[in-house]
């Protein structure tokens, strides 16, 4: 090929196609070579500056002269975020600050709500559902978990009462009437409870409700059946059911029947008793979240829809 090169003086490689198409052996452009050499020079510099090579024992690695690690960079960034949050956190953690004061300050409240959303997801939503939507029972014998976004509160819906509930937990008790009342009497009572929530009453059931010897539900639920915050007894006259069953109103009588027969949190004497315990998240609980976190959660729960 190259013996009969038709372009002898042009620095070609001697490869020809179609008579004139040929490969030249020019040097690469200057800018390209500068880029190439700069690249490998930078590689060497990089190996000295940054962690790059495993050490011979395969246990460690070269640390690099800058001391950079991805973890430290992450921590620095985290510290920056914490610094931004600090002024809000300081105000929330100040023992002088009450949750009511947080609610009154729209900016602080907004910060608290956004910050508490994550906390609520961590500690509360497993039972109460995200956004405090609650978890309804699937059958009349199950207990479910209460909705926090409505305005019905067993232990009161003021910000202080909510804070108290989260700090110390709650465990209301209702005796099991299955052993003291006949099945017909319990059915009458259940019918009365359903009627109460619809704004009417059931005569036979009401008699038992107010009865001084049998029943006597008024002792805890009140003469007006509206419940008492101090005891955590449910308001039976409103439309919200603590032991509601998902899927509708048809199950209400069955649900009331079960509650009356087996009680609440009386599992020592009745295995079928409903279980409805709110754990403590304060110093008395198995895990103390700290006053600041509890304040945040109280504010968050309060603004879900039913705070008073």
């Amino acid at each position: 090929m190259s013996e009969n090169n038709p372009f002898p003086n042009e620095n070609n490689t001697g490869h020809f196609w179609d008579d004139t198409l040929r490969e030249l052996s020019n040097d690469p452009p200057g800018w390209w070579r500068i880029g190439f050499h700069a690249s490998w020079l930078w590689c060497i510099v990089y190996f000295f500056l940054y962690p790059s090579l495993p050490t011979l024992d395969l246990e460690g690695y070269t640390k690099g002269s800058m001391g950079w690690t991805s973890v430290s960079e992450y921590k620095e960034d985290l510290a920056k975020i914490d610094q931004v949050r600090q002024k809000w956190e300081d105000r929330i953690n100040d023992p002088e600050t009450t949750p009511a004061m947080i609610l009154a300050d729209n900016e602080l409240r907004n910060y608290t709500v956004r910050s508490a959303k994550v906390l609520f997801g961590d500690y509360c939503s497993a039972c109460h559902g995200s956004g405090g939507a609650g978890n309804s029972a699937r059958s009349a014998t199950e207990s479910g978990y209460p909705v926090l976004a409505d305005d019905d509160w067993l232990y009161g819906g003021t910000i202080e009462q909510i804070q108290m509930t989260i700090t110390n937990g709650r465990k209301g008790i209702m005796p099991n009437y299955g052993t003291r009342l006949s099945e017909a009497e319990i059915t009458d009572l259940a019918k009365h409870v359903v009627a109460l929530s619809e704004g009417s009453e059931h005569a036979a059931g009401k008699e038992l409700f107010m009865g001084p010897t049998k029943g006597g539900c008024f002792a805890c639920h009140g003469m007006d059946a509206k419940g008492m915050d101090a005891l955590g007894s449910a308001n039976l006259t409103d439309a919200v059911w603590r032991f509601d069953v998902a899927g509708g109103d048809d199950h209400r009588q069955a649900s009331a029947l079960h509650t009356i027969a087996h009680g609440v949190n009386s599992e020592l004497i009745d295995k079928a008793s409903r279980n409805a315990v709110m754990p403590a998240f304060g110093p008395l609980g198995t895990r103390d979240l700290g006053a600041g976190t509890i304040k945040k959660l109280a504010v968050y729960v309060h603004q879900l829809g039913g705070g008073q």
Binding site: G129, G131, A133, D150, L304, G305
Partner: protein
């Protein structure tokens, strides 16, 4: 007798042009172009067009109500244009502005070719200014070429150094001015001189200084040939009806040099003096027809006209003309060309949109987020409650109190908005409100409801947002 003397004088001038004509070569990228500068209509026009860039340099110093009149505040996410504050929420208008400008570029290209390139492009203008300075320091193109080839000497270095120093200064001023559109210009000067500017400010300054210096000082027309995407796009938007600087080959060909001040019998008007190549800042030969390097700056028209004066021929051997006209075809009237009409319609739509946007830009805006978890809650009264987060945007410069109301849904009760809300200036302030409705009043599981927002002290400022009220089936 005097006629002959004049002829001889003209012949002498033309001879001088021939004498230098070997200097003017078509640009193949191997040598720096040193274009000849010549007075003329289009040269003057170019200076006027170039001076529109003074707005770029002086714009940031304009004040309005104590603030910079035009400020693109990127960290603050706000654009201030005199009285108007544009927030990211109004960004749809920016897309219309971009559409308008893009189509403007297209329509101008269709009509008169790459007028943007020739008269307004920063690359062209800066190169023009840089080479103008070069001529001031180093002299005519011939002298410059000689100086370039000359060996290093103190004199050469002194001349070159002065020129480069001035170039760098202009480049730095360009960079500083660019940054000044994004931050307060007076503070910026202070920051640069006290070395307390931010790293971004230094970075942009460095980038623009180096960019301007290299692009306008060294790469010059190579930028138009190899780097600029607009040059490629614009060139394909031309059609046979576009008016662009064109060599009238009917009149000019066959070209040939004068013999003793006279055109040889049978030759056209082009005397092959190469002056059109001499003045071309991108070094193309317009006589070869439309060239990818031609930025339609029309300086060759000035050059050719001056030669036509010398040889007593009419102007316009090179002139703004369309190919169709040159070939003797009927040229379509402007408003009958489909391209022009389509472009015009798009431009009008964009323009009307921008005007509508600017007229309707409200000082207040509201977005409503419906709570999704839970969608609704039944209250103890049996009523259904929905939770909403209101995001109130206050585009004015003062804190504003606003009242919230609902519209379009009867029997609904708004909770949590008894007191007017305070909306912080230039920011989004979130508030939470609830809507309640007796279950019996619910007509369906999903009903539209409007939130309205009105300024307490500025009732003319209002905003409205459509949301939904959800309930059980």
């Amino acid at each position: 007798m005097s006629q002959t003397a004049e002829d001889q004088q003209a012949g002498g001038e033309v001879d001088a042009l021939y004498a230098e004509s070997h200097e003017w070569k078509i640009n193949v990228g191997d040598e720096t172009i040193h274009a000849k500068r010549m007075e003329g209509r289009f040269r003057t026009l170019k200076w006027w067009a170039a001076s529109s860039w003074l707005l770029f340099f002086f714009g940031p110093y304009l004040r309005w109500n104590g603030n910079q009149a035009i400020l693109f505040d990127i960290p603050g996410r706000q654009y201030h244009i005199f009285d108007i504050t544009i927030l990211p929420q109004d960004v749809w208008m920016l897309s219309l502005v971009l559409l308008f400008l893009a189509i403007l570029l297209a329509v101008v290209t269709t009509l008169i070719g790459r007028a943007y390139c020739g008269f307004f492009c920063f690359q062209t203008i800066w190169v023009d200014v840089f080479t103008w300075l070069e001529e001031k320091f180093e002299g005519s193109p011939a002298k410059r070429k000689k100086l370039d080839k000359a060996p290093f000497s103190l004199e050469k270095i002194t001349i070159k150094l002065k020129k480069h120093l001035l170039w760098v200064l202009i480049s730095m001023l360009t960079g500083l001015t660019f940054v000044a559109w994004f931050t307060d210009v007076y503070q910026l000067w202070v920051d640069y001189f006290t070395l307390s500017a931010s790293s971004t400010e230094w970075g942009v300054l460095a980038l623009f200084t180096v960019g301007t210096y290299v692009l306008a000082g060294f790469l010059r027309e190579q930028t138009c040939f190899w780097l600029c995407p607009y040059a490629r796009i614009q060139a394909v938007m031309l059609d046979r009806e576009s008016m662009i600087p064109t060599y009238d080959f009917n009149r000019g060909e066959p070209r040939g040099r004068l013999k003793k001040g006279k055109t040889i019998e049978g030759n056209g008007d082009c005397i092959d003096c190469n002056q059109c190549v001499a003045v071309c800042p991108t070094g193309v030969d317009i006589r070869g027809g439309l060239d990818e390097g031609c930025i339609t700056c029309a300086l060759c028209i000035d050059a050719c006209d001056s030669v036509m004066d010398k040889i007593k021929k009419p102007h316009g051997l090179i002139r703004y003309e369309s190919i169709d006209a040159l070939e003797g075809k009927v040229v379509m009237p402007l408003m009958k060309r489909p391209r022009v009409l389509v472009y015009f319609v798009i431009m009008s739509i964009a323009f009307v949109g921008i005007i509508y946007g600017l007229m309707n830009i409200s000082g207040l805006d509201i977005k409503v987020l419906h709570e999704r978890q839970p969608l609704f809650v039944q209250l103890s009264s049996g009523a259904i409650q929905n939770k909403y987060e209101l995001k109130i945007l206050n585009k004015t410069h003062d804190t504003m109190s606003v009242t919230i109301a609902t519209e379009g849904l009867d029997g609904v009760e708004l909770v949590g908005a008894d007191e007017p809300f305070l909306a912080r200036p230039g920011k989004v302030t979130p508030y939470t409100v609830y809507l309640r409705m007796p279950r019996r009043a619910l007509e369906s599981s999903s009903m539209p409801v409007y939130f309205t927002l009105v300024g307490v002290e500025q009732p003319e400022l209002s905003a409205k947002y459509k949301s939904m009220f959800l309930g059980p089936r």
